[in-house]
Symmetry: C2
Subunit: 276 residues, 2 copies
């Protein structure tokens, strides 16, 4: 999916919500345990209940890998179940030397190889340009580069100052030379809304994937105040607050209610910004 | 495997060689293509031919993920085939917010969950302490933290100077507070031998995993000059130069010859340093 198509989906659905599909077996509604693959059933019902309210799904690969081969099978089948008009993010935080990153790109983008073709992959910047470039060789596929993450550990290195820039600012500035806003997004955590003005100064046109709303404590309106651009430019992820809205038989219905509340808040924000 | 046991293996085998198991289907000897899982057969024969000459195997997960579910199955079966006296490294370069890194730790360390239990995982430092800590909760399991990698892109961020330290030096210094040398190793590329003196100043007791010998151009003797410590402290990875020594029916035999040449060079180095 390209940038224009993504913006069209945002306008159509009046939403810039991304739902994080990070299921843990212990937290699933008990009635799903009778299925061969309870996590797949959980994901399918969540997708069926929310796909008209969100523009992206983001399974984090850790939650699948933890179950070994069968978890990876669940990831493939979850990807297949997502409607093609919804942007897909493999939240994998990969990155390696060039020839190895090329293998990761194939894993997440090339369906003939791996049975999956996500629209985008999250990538860690530590290893620099040649660890990122192989992902950019795929047309209309995206790198979502970690810039300023939502966790406490983001203070350990990302905010270190050098040459008048913090590390995360250097990551944004440097990577702007690797790809334009048609293939590059950045992860910027909602837990640091005061940094969005700064991020927008460095990356005015790029989409930002924003985790940290909900369970991690970030605020939607605070992020939007400086984060919106003229094509919206934000994908706001909600994970646990949506998928675990209930652990009863009504889990999908309750997830829909949570997604709907977020979509409605986003619709007001898009209207106020004259984007719809 | 703990640090003392690893050092004992090094003394016993007179080797600190790690073999990188990064197989690409297109590069396999043609006669293996008749097997159900040619990559597994390739790995098994390589392991059978070299396990007395090396102290570690390091499959890079990218080369397995690229083949989707069946690739992940190959990874599990490869791990199972490695003798228990050989240290195993999942070269996965993972790292995420705390609760997600806990899932990755389970994926690579907890056999009940994922059918695999590697001795160690490579971890990317960008997201800081809480992205690394969950891996340290497993007794006798190791984090191998990316410090100074062997690729060209390592110059993009890892060498940025701030507070009188380069980023990779900050990574080492800061992470020394997260775990001691019984659970923490560092990746330091052989392509930058001039940095080893500096690394040893910051991390005198830690093992270093050193990629970049062979196909990437690094020199074993240059690395050892400043890299050795009183428990050897080095795991030198050789990948393509060993596993692709031949693409004929003699591939395992030729891989053994390459591994043997490295082991013999290492034996001389260990003797000269009075470590055996």
């Amino acid at each position: 999916m390209n940038k224009q198509q993504l913006f069209e989906q945002i306008q159509l659905k009046k939403s810039f919500l991304c739902v994080g599909l990070d299921p843990v077996l212990d937290k699933l509604p008990k009635h799903l345990l009778k299925y061969d693959d309870p996590i797949l059933e959980f994901n399918k019902q969540l997708i069926d209940a929310t796909h008209d309210l969100c523009v992206a799904y983001k399974p984090n690969t850790a939650f699948y890998e933890t179950r070994g081969v069968k978890g990876w099978d669940t990831l493939v089948k979850t990807w297949k179940h997502i409607p093609k008009d919804v942007f897909t993010i493999a939240d994998a935080k990969r990155g390696d030397i060039g020839n190895t990153s090329a293998m990761y790109a194939e894993a997440f983008f090339k369906e003939e190889s791996s049975d999956m073709s996500f629209d985008s992959v999250t990538v860690a910047p530590y290893m620099g340009k040649d660890s990122v470039s192989p992902f950019l060789a795929y047309k209309d596929k995206w790198v979502i580069l970690l810039a300023l993450t939502s966790n406490e550990g983001s203070n350990d290195f990302q905010s270190k100052q050098s040459d008048d820039q913090k590390l995360y600012e250097q990551v944004i500035t440097t990577s702007q030379q690797w790809a334009d806003s048609n293939q590059m997004m950045y992860v910027v955590g909602a837990t640091k809304p005061e940094e969005f003005q700064n991020v927008r100064r460095l990356a005015p046109d790029n989409f930002l994937l924003v985790p940290g709303i909900g369970a991690q404590g970030g605020s939607l309106s605070a992020v939007c105040e400086h984060g919106l651009n003229n094509q919206c430019g934000l994908l706001i992820n909600a994970g646990r607050s949506v998928i675990y809205a209930s652990n009863g038989k009504d889990f999908a219905e309750r997830a829909r209610e949570e997604a709907l509340a977020l979509q409605q808040e986003m619709e007001q924000i898009l209207k106020a910004a004259n984007l719809i």
